[in-house]
Subunit: 530 residues, 2 copies
């Protein structure tokens, strides 16, 4: 996979996935102060060659156009949307001066030609999960890189230097996990973070949508789940329309939306609207009135899951659904005489991990029947569940991490790493450096094993974040993860990263994202709210 | 000092400083669900007695009025401003229904009578530093308490229960330190935090306005200080008009503004605009081109300080100025041959602490001549500087804290405690509990020594906060400090505090302050930005 973003008169864009090129009219040389070697590029592209030849961009004459021969044209709405978005990032509220279609001046970059050379010209599709499909997402990352090359000279004139960029991501799966159960996140907050994800070339929104504390997903099939299980049945739910909007907003930025409906644990809120779904816990020989994980011994449980995951498979277009499967507490199952009896009858004895596996195994079948792939947390693999070949194992435990990565990949499963990137764990100082230094392939695997590690995710669990503080807590700390997952393995210079990331965070601030500061500093345009 | 906020027909307000009372027309008993014993009161008043008799408040007929015989009337602008502010907090964007001056219904609270019984009726004054003067600030805290007693019943009707509150602060000095040098804070952010301070009954804004990284204070006398020393001479400065507005905004909320101009260390930014102010450091026998603390051996230094602090004394109406005096690095002084020669000539030998004291001693004289009191960080006391009797020592070092508190108060100096409340040090989880548990009088002092501890300050140093994240990082963590400094010493029940603080933080959110969550939870009205 190779993508080129080339611009200078004489450079030709040759790209497997996609290329953008620009054509300038004249090329009078202007020297500029470059600051850090790579300016404000974040994440760092795979190959960067910057010259000192600079061109100005005029808000009145600059154009982004589909190159001749491009497989995508004006009818490709995701491209047209992206053109508008990046024009606005570049020129903001620029007032028109003079004629709009005036002739370009000397030393001016008048046009960015975007040439899509992949065969896929279906611009109404959703970003795909495989590496071939992920080429589509390069539409956006190329434009992002272009926009990062534009700077203001000392007179405030937008400028860009003649440069050659060849780019592609090191890992195909670059995700952010947000948790909308522990605190409800207004749609506005989710959209803002999708914007920020695009600026950092993340391409997967792992939506941990429901959990113990609340069930904000409004299900058409089982509306009582959110009516009873949400913090509030109207103000704290995601309606089908909300979900559709979030998915479309993400699609327009090349971002997949992978929903997680975590079971059999983490389901307290499910029990409020769905009778008999959870296991009744016992105190001695009588029910205590509390409930445990999903009850795995009732047929009604699987009837329910069948219908729910059928709906989910229709609501969420992504090829994958995350089934959770983490942190199942066995105490309630142990206390329940019906569970014990069933386990005896089915020869499971006292092995509750086997009971959990029994449940997950059936759920995996239900999901496979909807033609979706399954992502699961590592415990499901650890417990010996027979996983489908296309299952993706999400490794999240810090202890024994390298062994786990080895084992999962040795078993031939695709793996996503989250363990080093639990961004809800805050500490004083520049903890982004710790996230930056984490290396996904830092375990003793073969080349074949390494290839199974398709990426990672930065996770911001919701205990301590809501709409008041989520965005500045996530950015630019997640940006560090973004570069680790995108750039070449040897991009590890922490000082160079600091310089680029400081500028990148000010760029996010200028674009309206309240990304917090790395350290004592200032931005030319401080965040002023909105 | 005693202030009473009493409301119920038969209760009579008797208060030394101030009293508010209300009069209701009828008093039909309505039972309400009280939740936590003290509802959402924060900080907890000194005496609270809540009944189950409830009254409704109507946005169209409810009035806040000056009681008969009150020493403050309609011409008192701070009171009128406060009435408007609290009316808006209570009723938000309530649409008028029916006639505005309709007759109050049964079970309705129609009027809050505010009776000011202190002699001081000068509503144009600034909040004072002494305990007598601080009675004025009770105008606001009484209204805040009243507003905290109002709740919405299940039909959304504003209601209040008949209650008796007697209230006064345990400590008279309850401050928040914000640092506008490491990151510039837009005025909007400072004002929002002054609002939040009032909601938490803080009454001192300790404005650490300049420091090494930048000098945003625009001095009329020495404009080059900010022209050269600010991050940007126009966009990152506080003009005289800005400062005046901030002081007035604070005054209208009973908040003092104590500016800190920290010297002789922490002054790198000063050197950019003021030639010869800082000590040239030497590398061997030649100047290295870098600079150290303020140069204490030049007369020009004191001429400069004389003029600057004269201006400061005029710009800032508060009775105190904070002179800093912390963390002076002696290395540069040690390297400089002129300093060494001068010390030899003046019999200081190699005792650089004495040199620092020489400087501070002269500065204290300069400030005393402007009729202002001085606050200083603890090192000034530790170094044996002869302090004026009214100096206030600010204790900030965590190690040896109890000994320091003992020594400062044993020497007869008024003390303010900041050490346990450095809120820039973040950690995972509910660190507000640590701040809450810190007890200012937790050292073995006599009663007389205890009385010298007039309060404390929550400090949010600026390395890692700016306008993107400051407000949610400060609140409600600083609220924990607020209750410790306001409420009785035995108010230490962490579960009760959690319950009240959770509601208080949602109230702050509803009032537009993005106060972050304590833990997994929801607010009826989530923060939606603005």
């Amino acid at each position: 996979m190779l993508a080129g973003l080339n611009f200078a008169t004489l450079l030709l864009s040759v790209a497997v996935c996609q290329g953008s090129q620009y054509k300038d009219i004249n090329s009078e040389t202007v020297s500029v102060d470059q600051g850090s070697t790579y300016g404000s590029l974040w994440p760092l592209p795979q190959q960067v060659s910057l010259s000192e030849v600079s061109f100005k961009l005029s808000s009145s004459s600059f154009r982004v156009v589909d190159a001749e021969g491009s497989s995508a044209g004006p009818s490709c709405n995701i491209l047209q949307n992206a053109y508008r978005r990046y024009y606005e990032y570049l020129f903001g509220n620029a007032r028109k001066t003079g004629h709009f279609k005036r002739k370009a001046a000397r030393s001016e970059l008048s046009e960015l030609q975007v040439s899509i050379t992949s065969g896929d010209s279906d611009c109404d599709g959703y970003p795909g999960a495989t590496s071939d499909e992920s080429c589509d997402q390069m539409y956006f990352t190329g434009l992002e890189t272009f926009s990062q090359l534009v700077y203001e000279d000392e007179y405030g004139a937008k400028s860009i230097n003649s440069s050659k960029i060849v780019d592609f991501p090191r890992f195909q799966h670059r995700g952010i996990l947000l948790d909308t159960s522990r605190h409800f996140l207004p749609i506005k907050v989710i959209l803002a973070n999708l914007e920020a994800m695009a600026m950092n070339k993340f391409n997967v929104f792992h939506w941990h949508i429901v959990d113990d504390p609340s069930f904000p997903y409004l299900s058409r099939t089982f509306p009582q789940l959110s009516q009873m299980g949400a913090y509030h049945p109207y103000t704290h739910v995601y309606t089908p329309g909300d979900v559709k909007m979030i998915i479309e907003f993400a699609r327009l930025r090349g971002i997949r939306v992978v929903p997680e409906f975590d079971t059999p644990g983490h389901t307290q809120s499910w029990g409020k609207g769905q009778k008999d779904l959870l296991t009744p816990c016992y105190s001695g020989s009588t029910p205590s009135g509390t409930f445990g994980p999903v009850n795995p011994i009732l047929n009604t449980t699987y009837d329910f899951m069948n219908l729910l995951f059928k709906e989910i498979s229709e609501v969420f277009p992504d090829a994958y659904v995350h089934l959770g499967g983490d942190e199942v507490d066995f105490n309630c199952w142990k206390s329940n005489p019906d569970i014990q009896k069933w386990m005896d009858e089915h020869g499971l004895g006292k092995d509750y991990a086997k009971l959990e596996s029994f449940y997950i195994q059936k759920l995996l079948g239900i999901v496979a029947a909807t033609k979706k792939g399954s992502m699961i947390w590592q415990e499901v693999f650890d417990n010996g569940v027979k996983l489908p070949a296309d299952a993706v194992v999400n490794v999240w435990m810090g202890s024994g991490l390298q062994g786990e990565m080895f084992n999962v990949t040795a078993a031939g499963f695709t793996t996503i790493l989250s363990a080093p990137w639990y961004l809800d764990y805050i500490s004083y100082g520049q903890d982004w450096q710790r996230y930056y230094k984490a290396e996904p392939l830092d375990f003793k695997g073969s080349d074949a094993q390494n290839k199974l590690v398709i990426g990672g995710e930065a996770c911001l669990w919701g205990e301590f974040v809501d709409s008041t503080n989520l965005t500045p807590r996530l950015w630019p700390r997640a940006s560090a993860v973004g570069e680790r997952l995108w750039s070449a393995k040897d991009v590890t210079d922490i000082n160079d990263a600091y310089s680029r990331l400081s500028k990148h965070r000010c760029r996010m601030v200028e674009r309206g994202i309240p990304a917090e500061p790395l350290f004592t500093s200032f931005c030319r345009h401080e965040y002023k709210g909105n």
